[in-house]
Symmetry: D2
Subunit: 361 residues, 4 copies
């Protein structure tokens, strides 16, 4: 259970890091959307391992195949399945994991829940699972663009450890994000982040940080007022990503130190439509988008896999030492940027279809 996301644009991911492959079934995609595997591949390449010197060196080309749901370059309205084979799996590197619980990994909890686990790598808990999400989101973006041609979703790294970037959130473009391997559009900060990541890796340690995401030109009216508030679905989406520890939308935790008279966003006429003078709300009020920029921040913890030796115990309860030997990311954030965008696209696409169902046509 729990491998499906969305009510109308329904995304079901499957697959373990070591096994036949990883993929996704998207049910509910509208028909007649132009879609090619190249468009999906482009997004997968952004999350792929081995893309730069600061990511894991696992060599996975992550070539995707569209197995179903597309015909003569267009979606059929039927389930779209995308499959990516695992290629550079090295289960032998995980032999030690058969009996040992890695600290702050999911080994112990999977064992507690299921009484069994695929110890050859992270199994479902591996970040490889997000391949399915990114592939689905490439489709979601096509749907969103059909509905709202000017929509933009841009995520970027805004903090690594103590290094905080200076970024004009409202202006930042994808090209600037992609311009550095750490995906931080502040070039000075980016350089420092890259240096710190390399030093930290050399020291056998790992780092966390913050990713910010902005969605522009989302029309007013998306989101549901009670449990499926737009920010609630975004929060769930982000906290469902591996290694995330926190989420804040608009003013976020800083709102807790403000007074209502400062924090309230005054409405104002802006040409023919209604906008707000400030945007502490983060583009969402009462769970529903108000037409302003939607923005939020996601906290990522330092990667649990580190080369440094750590204390732990085996499944039979014996004390032991552990030092990671698999290839891994010293800092997940650069590769998590497309994942954050992906989950944002899935949430917005689902709510766009939900709104379409009840809107006056």
């Amino acid at each position: 259970m729990g491998n499906t996301f969305g009510q109308l644009f329904r995304v079901t991911t499957f697959g373990e890091s070591h096994g036949g492959g990883i993929g996704v079934v998207v049910d509910g995609c509208p028909p007649r959307i132009a879609l090619s595997s190249a468009e999906i591949q482009r997004e997968l390449d952004r999350r792929r391992p081995g893309q730069s010197r600061i990511t894991t060196q696992r060599k996975e080309p992550d070539r995707c195949e569209i197995v179903s749901g597309v015909f003569e370059g267009k979606t059929l309205g039927t389930p779209i399945t995308v499959l990516v084979r695992n290629e550079d799996a090295r289960p032998e590197a995980y032999e030690a994991m058969r009996e040992t619980f890695r600290p702050s990994h999911a080994d112990f909890t999977y064992q507690a829940k299921y009484g069994i686990r695929n110890w050859q790598g992270g199994g479902r808990a591996s970040a490889r699972e997000t391949i399915g999400r990114v592939a689905a989101a490439a489709i979601a973006r096509k749907v969103l663009t059909t509905l709202f041609p000017k929509i933009e979703i841009v995520a970027f790294v805004t903090q690594i450890h103590e290094i905080v970037a200076k970024i004009n959130r409202s202006k930042v473009k994808t090209a600037e994000v992609e311009a550095t391997i750490v995906r931080c559009p502040d070039k000075t900060a980016a350089k420092n982040m890259i240096d710190l990541i390399e030093q930290t890796r050399a020291a056998g340690d790992s780092l966390g940080g913050v990713i910010e995401c902005i969605a522009r030109n989302v029309p007013a009216g998306l989101g549901e007022p009670v449990f499926d508030k737009l920010e609630a679905d975004l929060a769930k989406a982000m906290l469902s990503l591996p290694a995330t520890k926190g989420f804040e939308v608009g003013s976020g935790f800083s709102a807790t130190r403000m007074c209502g008279s400062e924090h309230n966003d005054a409405f104002e006429k802006r040409g023919r439509h209604i906008g707000t003078r400030t945007n502490f709300s983060g583009g969402i009020q009462g769970g529903i988008s108000n037409g302003e920029d939607i923005y939020f921040r996601v906290a990522f913890k330092p990667t649990a896999t580190i080369a440094r030796e750590q204390d732990t115990i085996t499944s039979s309860g014996k004390k032991t030492k552990l030092a990671a030997r698999g290839r891994h990311d010293p800092c997940v954030l650069p590769r998590a940027v497309p994942m954050v965008e992906a989950m944002t696209a899935l949430v917005l696409c689902d709510h766009a279809l939900r709104q379409k169902a009840i809107a006056k046509s």
Copy 2:
């Protein structure tokens, strides 16, 4: 759509702040759980308006009726409906709202989404909607206690504006929380918070803050590994509450400034079971509970309704001024404590039943 929460313990809330009433249908509650309306009433009384001098003075007794699903003091396994009538509604106080969008409220977004809204009060966006959640959670707690007799869920106010309490999270008990009207177990901080709230109300303004919640004695194995991670469902649950802007679990945003070697929670044998030496994970690893304390923090913005005059515009786009005349909370946190506990109980109860469905029996 979006008025139902949970997969197996399914909670559907209904009702507007002004109208026939507010309530909830709980589908999926196991049979033969002892349940009385007094048990539900006790929780409702904790969230009820007018309970202290620092909350809204709206006089709602919020008497609940169990309409269905309980027979001779026990749940039947059929849907349990709880209904609370609105009594002290004063729609005339909202006459000005008919045409005016209150800043940082949901008036504008409801109008954008639905093309209609109940302008006599907040409608579905009113915090009165949470009556249904709190009632449902009173039932969820009974189910949880049946399954895990030692489980405890305790939320408390840990920050109001700039006042930060000192609280030993692992020890705090409900009685200490209920001992102050601001629901902060640090008595010194509580006094300061109460004073600040009263001053702020007098000044026609409002305050935000942080609520922390801890769940103890939750067994390992609850939660689903991918989209329905326990922290993801908690994040959604919290961000679905009115006025929330952020969520962090375990180390939260502070994890972003830590190294993996500091942050990883080493496993250790603790008597007959396996525990962790530290608990930066917040009791959840890979989306699944690990048996340690689950804890998280929720950011609340300052109440949008303030007595001070604000600029805004009407639905036809004319500039106007607005000063709240309805009764309202200068700070939602004291009354939000039972709401945070309620949503926690709903998430845990749902995941407990989900785990029961697949566990070896």
Copy 3:
């Protein structure tokens, strides 16, 4: 679980035959649909007990209250709750049922499933549960009429025991159905049916029969191709009604004795649209409506409650005799006609919204 029907037009019913009341929450109704309690009452009056001399004499006015979701005569887009109180409940009439399993009722199976049951009447298994469905369907019909102004849904009794009516399915109108208390538009057959029902009641026995339903002017394109085929959802809808034993759509069981060359419906141009020369398909092909009349038949068993003495056993396994003393219908079909129409409306409304979500706008 299992008390919710529909994906987008989501209907959750609640309540037992003896207890606080019966009702429904409808989530997902589009906003700005004109709706009054009188419109709901009209449909409830058609299913109400005591409406004629051939139904149960239980005196339930079944007055409905709209508790939420409607404002100034229009739907808000929020959950619509309709509540009907139980009034003429006589639990004492059921005292004998406390320990005794009535044959072909749900007493034994509820006990087996839940280990508890509301023995004061049928509980959730009572036909009173369908009040919620009929109320929801009154709303669904308003939505359908908004989307497809010419849509018509007409059900009627076509067989009671051995009496088979002659009815021109394609022409029959609601007024003709309502013209007889047995709801059979063939007046001669209707008279015979009524006589037979009265004789059978006098003899302490009960009767079954067949209801047919036709939906006209449903546009092509409603229904989903795989599991949620339109006929599959109709079949589920009908078999979820109390006392139903069978369902057939279009040619139904008679198709099993036909050859493909006879059964295939040839396409033909009909003015500007495409129709079929025959309609053995019953208006649905590959799970999707084709624009022709949708029609199907539903088999109802004879009422399980009979005055005649029957053998049975108690919950402790002792042999005993039982003769019904509660008020009951000697034949459920006249009152089941609005229930069949109701479930049809719910299925069509849900699929109409689902199609709206993906259709080119």
Copy 4:
């Protein structure tokens, strides 16, 4: 939408008859169930084309691959994906279908719904879609057997056109069903059926018939009382299979001609448990299994694809003639037997897990 079946044992099928392949994702399968691809293959071989002289001669080995969710021969609790590649697709045989609507097929309705269709074969409407269902059901059977070791699900052909078999429903075994290529355990009838199918094929025509299914040793207590009644979910399951036109459970349509005094199933003590003297209820009362044999019948129409020339029209509305040239089944029933069993297993497995979630443990 509509490609997922089940609440807890969730089955999502994907794939078109011509394209990358056909498959299924099963989410919610309990962990530690022994499972091999051979077990799945065995069931697929029963539904495979070309298995006998009375089925289509399309040469599809239908080799399955388990892509995910199984490790060292056991289920992991994560999604199980099964993939079958299309091999003997001959899209050129369908060139004529590009513009022409085949009578009583889904060509026209897919076009009406989606504005696009995969005209190279039946697309999603092809019976090949059921590969995913049969694969999922092979897994469901393993789960059911783990929970209820004595459970048996046996379907068989009981009628082809006018030939009605004589079968002792309560005794029939799978081996007897598999003993004839038409899957009818009455050998005399089977011979006549086979002859009739061969003659009909030679005449360029097709046949329908009835399949009956029995589930033995299902415990009392499975099913939900209202919308998700066990018979309602079975009805939906069966009507979601291609070419089905009707469903009846227990006494079915024959109940409509019986009196309550005949039809009621008297309870009786049978050793230590409670049974019924007769079983007109078909093993289900009030939507919940009562421990008796569950049995039902499914009506199949004659195959729509026939070699004989038929009138039809093109998508632009021109009259034309059509004679099938693709390979097809003159009668779908022999291959539909494993499909009926599959859908039965899916329904029972889902309800077994649902009951497990609420049962006293």
